[in-house]
Structures are given as structure tokens and as C-alpha cells.
Amino acid sequence: MLTRLSLRGFKSFAEPVELRFGPGVNVIVGPNGSGKSNVAEAILWALGEQRPARLRAPGMQDVLFSGGPGRQAVGVAEVTMGLAGPGGEGRPAELEVTRRLTRAGDAGYRLNGGRCRLLDVQDALATHGLGPRSLSVIRQGQVEAVCASHPAELRAVLDEAA
């Protein structure tokens, strides 16, 4: 399960913010435009999302806090996600993924503190059952897409869940 999510400089989260999740049902609530879907996108970003369109962004640079009245744009966005595995049977008990992007375009990933490549993050996440085609994230407005999928796409979702 997801244990924590730390964000700073990501979209509307200029200030560092940390969410500590519990078991069962966690609910994120707030007015339109407050930043709820930005939290969801921080999770997708930490999971390795490479397509800006999936983060509603024209380009990946647009995920950096770009300023507000009396508040300057930031130079770096960083998100850390903590996962607790069930442990045992050779599965890692704890996984911490950090992704970072600077306005200059420098991108970086860390796995349990150590610098690594995107591929290492993707492999580690795959052993936890979190892959790009997983149904585990349904974005705003996308719920009906499951019904509209092609038979081959739906099959791929089942293959991935296995």
C-alpha cells in the first residue's frame, strides 16, 4: 500500500506538503481547482509517467509551480512516494521512489535514496504490481474509458494484473 507522498514545487504545491496514507479508504476532498487532481498527478509522475498529456500539461516543464500573485515560480519540482509491500516471499518490504525535474530540464530518479535510472524505477514498481497499463489509477473523466476500450486493450489490462 501507499504509505506517504511528499510534494514540493509540483503544480500548485509550491510549498512542501506531505500526505501520510492509512489502510482502507483515504479520501481527498476540496473545492474545484484546489489541487486534488494535482495530487493524483504527482502519484502518476512518481510512478514514471512520461507523457505530459496524461498530466494535462503541454510539456513536462509545466508541472513545475509556475507562480502566483506575489509568489515566484520555482526552479525544481520533486515528489517522493513511499510504498509498503506485504513483505516476505522475497518482496521488498519498503520502496521509496523520488522523482525530480528542474526548470533547466535536469531529470533525476532515486530508489530508496540512491540515484538510478527510470528503468530501475519501472522494474521495482513492476514487482509491486504497479505498471503503466494498470487499472489502479482512474483519472478524472476517464472512468468510462474502460467500457470504450478495444477487446485487445482490455485483455492487456488483465494480462498486466496477473
Partner: protein
């Protein structure tokens, strides 16, 4: 995990039929393998109570959301992922269907972690942990968290739709 596709299809298929029975009382649903133009795939079929089998596209917006959620929940029951992040998936559901959906989520919550993003009160009421997101006049978002004893009555704000 070199599991056969037939095994996954069978496990998820059974759960899907079960969940459809809960979300569409009196209705029926199944997942069926198909081969189209040489490509293997699966199709979802649901017939709500008192209706006849028709193309999924002819179902209503709320019914199609419920079918999609039944599929997601069936996978969660058969082959759970570490967590499920659902952003405003209940928008098209009327009150009765929303409560049925939340009922199934609560049943699974013992074994599965859910992150639900919402502006609807019935969903807020199923929370074990609640996070309130707000944005100040300077365009910066903040988060406040509360762990709950399943009693978030006091938390209704004007922007949360009650039901």
C-alpha cells in the same frame, strides 16, 4: 508471474459477475474472450435488471460508469494492486448507485487500499483517513489531514455536495 491468461480471466470473470450482481441488483454480467481479426481480446457484457442485452454504448452514462467500476473492482478482488487511485469516478452516478458502489468499496477496504478524490459527501463519509485540499489567494495549495473513527459528520463544507 507466469500465470496463464485463462486463469486470470476466470478469476476476474467470477468476481465481475459477483460485483455486477451487487451494483446492478437483478442484473447480469460477464467477461467473455473474443478473437477479432486474429487478435485475442475480451469484451464486457452487462444486462441491467428489466432490460435486454444491447451494445454497451446504448447504456446510460451512469450505467456505463458502473460497468467500468465493476470491472475495476473485480480486478481489485481477484488480483489486487497495492492501491487504487480513483479521481471523481462517481460523477455520473445517482445517489442510489453511488451508495451501492461505496458499499462494495467498503467491503474491499479491509484488504485493499483506496485513494478516492471527490467533492461528494457520501464518499467523504466512507473515509478512514480524510485529506482536505485548499488553495489560497496566492495560487498555492495546502493539505490538512484527519484520521477518522468513521464519523466525519462535522466536515461538510459548502463546496462538498451533500446527499
Amino acid at each position: 508471474v507466469a500465470e496463464g491468461f485463462d486463469e486470470v480471466l476466470d478469476a476476474v470473470g467470477r468476481r465481475f459477475t459477483e460485483v455486477v450482481g451487487l451494483l446492478f441488483p437483478g442484473g447480469e454480467g460477464r467477461i467473455r474472450p473474443v478473437a477479432l481479426e486474429g487478435e485475442d481480446g475480451v469484451v464486457v457484457e452487462v444486462v441491467p435488471a428489466g432490460k435486454r442485452p444491447r451494445a454497451l454504448s446504448l447504456l446510460s452514462g451512469g450505467e456505463r460508469s458502473l460497468v467500468a467500476l465493476a470491472f475495476c473492482l473485480a480486478v481489485a478482488m481477484a488480483r489486487p494492486a497495492p492501491f487504487y487511485l480513483l479521481d471523481e469516478v462517481e460523477a455520473a452516478l445517482d445517489d442510489v448507485n453511488l451508495r451501492r458502489f461505496l458499499g462494495v468499496v467498503r467491503r474491499l477496504a479491509g484488504d485493499t487500499q483506496f485513494l478516492l478524490i471527490t467533492h461528494q459527501q457520501p464518499t467523504v463519509e466512507t473515509a478512514d483517513t480524510l485529506f482536505g485540499v485548499t488553495m489560497g489567494g496566492n495560487g498555492v495549495s495546502q493539505v490538512l489531514a484527519r484520521r477518522l473513527d468513521r464519523n466525519p459528520e462535522g466536515a461538510a463544507r459548502p463546496w462538498v455536495r451533500r446527499a
